[in-house]
């Protein structure tokens, strides 16, 4: 593992910016790439894409069911369609279109959920997507991924173009630091990335909670000598069962962290896997509890629900006491 970037100065960009820049770079070469938006090119950072590649952007307007249906039609005719829409609406309002027109019909639409999780913070629960992993996990033939940093985002978009299978990627609005400066790391859908090694416990996080999880692990090591492994589980489905079982065996205890309801997401995917394989060891799911979220920025909401470095570190120490 390479050295972890420790300081809190954000040296990266928002993943949405990386998504749009990478997509535009690829679309300039591959003319079959089409961005399909629901009056969302501003929040999807696709204004430049639309200006530079006007033949490769389709505006649907605020109509998410139609957005996904049209994208499915485009995909069926050979377009690499990226349907870009706020994650909350894309995965709730157009759920039946995702299920039938995309996944069941195997039209390889790339569904891009922007401003995901609690990125819209103060705009409230109508605009939070804390259900998307849960509902999409139950749909067959769909890759579900939440890249954590700019590297994962760039690689996910590149692979989304190459992978001729329906998939869902979720991105947030906040600038994201690099998780590691290791140049030898790789990214592959379905394969979690071990960001930090450790023997005492494993923290499995996804999306934008990986960074506070990593900070928590650093803090635990420096302050208490606790060595926690940290995994960026960027792909929720297909799930990297082999990695989780190996780390469960090695470290014993597991904590999962996600910007999602505690129901139906990363945590429950891990829990069912562990139970099905006979592991009955200390385990905790960290996420948004079963309530409509408090008002605030993404950071404030993370802090409120203990999804901060301090909150995760505290949860780790409590869990290890139980062990």
């Amino acid at each position: 593992m390479g050295a972890v970037i420790e300081n809190t100065t954000i040296n990266g960009k928002p993943n949405q910016d990386i998504f749009s820049a990478t997509l535009q770079e690829l679309a300039t070469i591959d003319k079959s790439i089409v961005a399909v938006t629901s009056d969302s090119r501003g929040s999807g950072k696709l204004v430049k894409f639309g200006a530079d590649l006007p033949e490769q952007i389709v505006e649907i307007g605020i109509a998410e069911q139609n957005l996904v249906g049209v994208a499915a039609g485009l995909a069926s005719a050979g377009k690499k369609a990226f349907a870009v829409s706020p994650a909350c609406f894309l995965t709730a309002r157009a759920l039946e279109q995702i299920k039938n027109d995309v996944a069941y019909s195997n039209n390889p639409v790339r569904l891009i959920g922007i401003s995901a999780g609690v990125s819209y913070g103060a705009l409230g629960s109508t605009h939070h997507s804390l259900h998307d992993f849960a509902v999409l996990r139950a749909i067959n033939n769909l890759i579900i991924a939440a890249p954590a940093d700019n590297f994962e985002t760039r690689e996910a978009v590149k692979q989304a173009v190459k992978t001729n299978q329906p998939l869902y990627l979720r991105f947030g609005k906040k600038a994201m630091p690099a998780l590691t400066d290791d140049e030898n790391i790789s990214f592959e859908f379905g394969k979690g990335r071990v960001i930090k090694e450790g023997d005492d416990l494993t923290i499995i996080a996804t999306g934008e909670t990986v960074y506070p999880a990593l900070q928590a692990a650093e803090k635990l090591e420096q302050e208490q000598g606790i060595k926690a492994a940290v995994v960026s589980m960027h792909t929720i489905k297909p799930f990297d069962a082999e990695l989780v079982l190996r780390l469960a065996e090695k470290t014993g205890a597991i904590i999962t962290v996600e910007e999602h309801s505690i129901y139906g997401g990363l945590g429950e995917a891990c829990a069912s896997l562990l139970l099905a394989n006979g592991y009955h060891k200390p385990f905790k799911i960290m996420g948004i509890p079963d309530e409509y979220t408090v008002t605030g920025s993404q950071t404030e909401i993370f802090n409120h629900y203990g999804l901060s470095a301090d909150g995760i570190a505290l949860a780790v120490t409590k869990l290890l006491v139980k062990q």
Partner: protein
């Protein structure tokens, strides 16, 4: 140019299609009888004199597309596809049986089916995307979608209608199988969608009415496409649910009613009378 099949031959085909629809629904003990009988003349004309699609060119990106939004009337689609040689007709003996690919709604497991449908309000948005791709690629293929009048309350239809007009998709033709009945009763009672024509016209579609059982009129309507350059076309095909079988016509109970042995024999006899000119 496609080889046009003579109208009298198409009329004979329609009678045969109706007999087969009934046969396989009876065999499956399941199916959407009324709606399959109301839309089958439209499918007949589409597949036999309009669509540039066949088992030989089905993988060609230049083929015409037919997407059946009213997926429940799959029996009509299956018998027409079998007749066109997409698969052996005997396969339909497995209709709706355990592990059969010939399930009760269109599935791409069946050769010739473009999209999996069945949930309503999906066909038009997918068709819009497919027609849009043709425009973007400067391809000449056309996209046809069959909607039921009962599925029009689904909002996704109206979202797609806006988009089709916005992108001036004159390579898109939607056909409404306007049999005026749905599972609960008449459209007028359940959710009145009339007047359909002025609604679509106000969305900037070009609209024509046609008798959906008149082969000649259907042929003429399809030959006139696009009705206006730069506009998507809508054919409101006035049909009769259960058309062709006297005791099924305009009866809600045949929405997915399955004939018993006696009813089946009566129905076949009626269709035979049409064929022999006794009617």
């Amino acid at each position: 140019m496609r080889n046009m099949i003579a109208e009298n031959e198409l009329i004979a085909k329609s009678v045969n299609y109706r007999k087969k629809i009934l046969k396989y629904i009876v065999g499956a003990k399941a199916g959407h009888t009324g709606g399959s009988l109301s839309c089958v003349d439209i499918l007949n004309v589409l597949y036999n004199s309009v669509l540039n699609v066949s088992p030989d060119n089905f993988t060609s990106p230049d083929r015409d597309r037919y997407i059946q939004s009213k997926g429940h009337c799959v029996e009509a689609l299956y018998v027409v596809l079998a007749d066109k040689g997409f698969f052996p007709e005997d396969d339909l003996n497995t209709l709706c049986q355990y592990k059969s690919h010939y399930i009760g709604h269109p599935t791409r497991k069946v050769h010739g089916v473009e999209q999996n449908t069945g949930a309503l309000g999906h066909g038009l948005p997918i068709s819009v995307g497919t027609a849009l791709a043709a425009k973007m690629d400067n391809k000449a293929y056309r996209v046809f979608t069959l909607l039921g009048d009962g599925e029009l309350p689904e909002g996704s239809n109206w979202e797609a209608a806006l988009t089709a007009a916005h992108y001036k998709l004159d390579n898109l033709c939607a056909i409404i199988d306007n049999n005026k009945l749905q599972i609960t009763g008449s459209n007028a009672e359940v959710c009145n969608t009339a007047p359909i024509d002025t609604k679509f016209e106000s969305f900037d579609w070009a609209v024509k009415h046609v008798d959906g059982h008149d082969i000649k009129a259907l042929n003429e309507a399809f030959a006139a496409l696009p009705f206006e350059k730069g506009k998507p076309s809508l054919i409101i095909a006035h049909t009769i649910k259960g058309k062709g079988i006297s005791f099924m016509e305009n009866s809600v109970k045949w929405h997915h009613g399955v004939p018993d042995k006696e009813q089946y024999e009566t129905a076949i006899a009626e269709l035979d009378e049409v064929m022999t000119g006794a009617n």
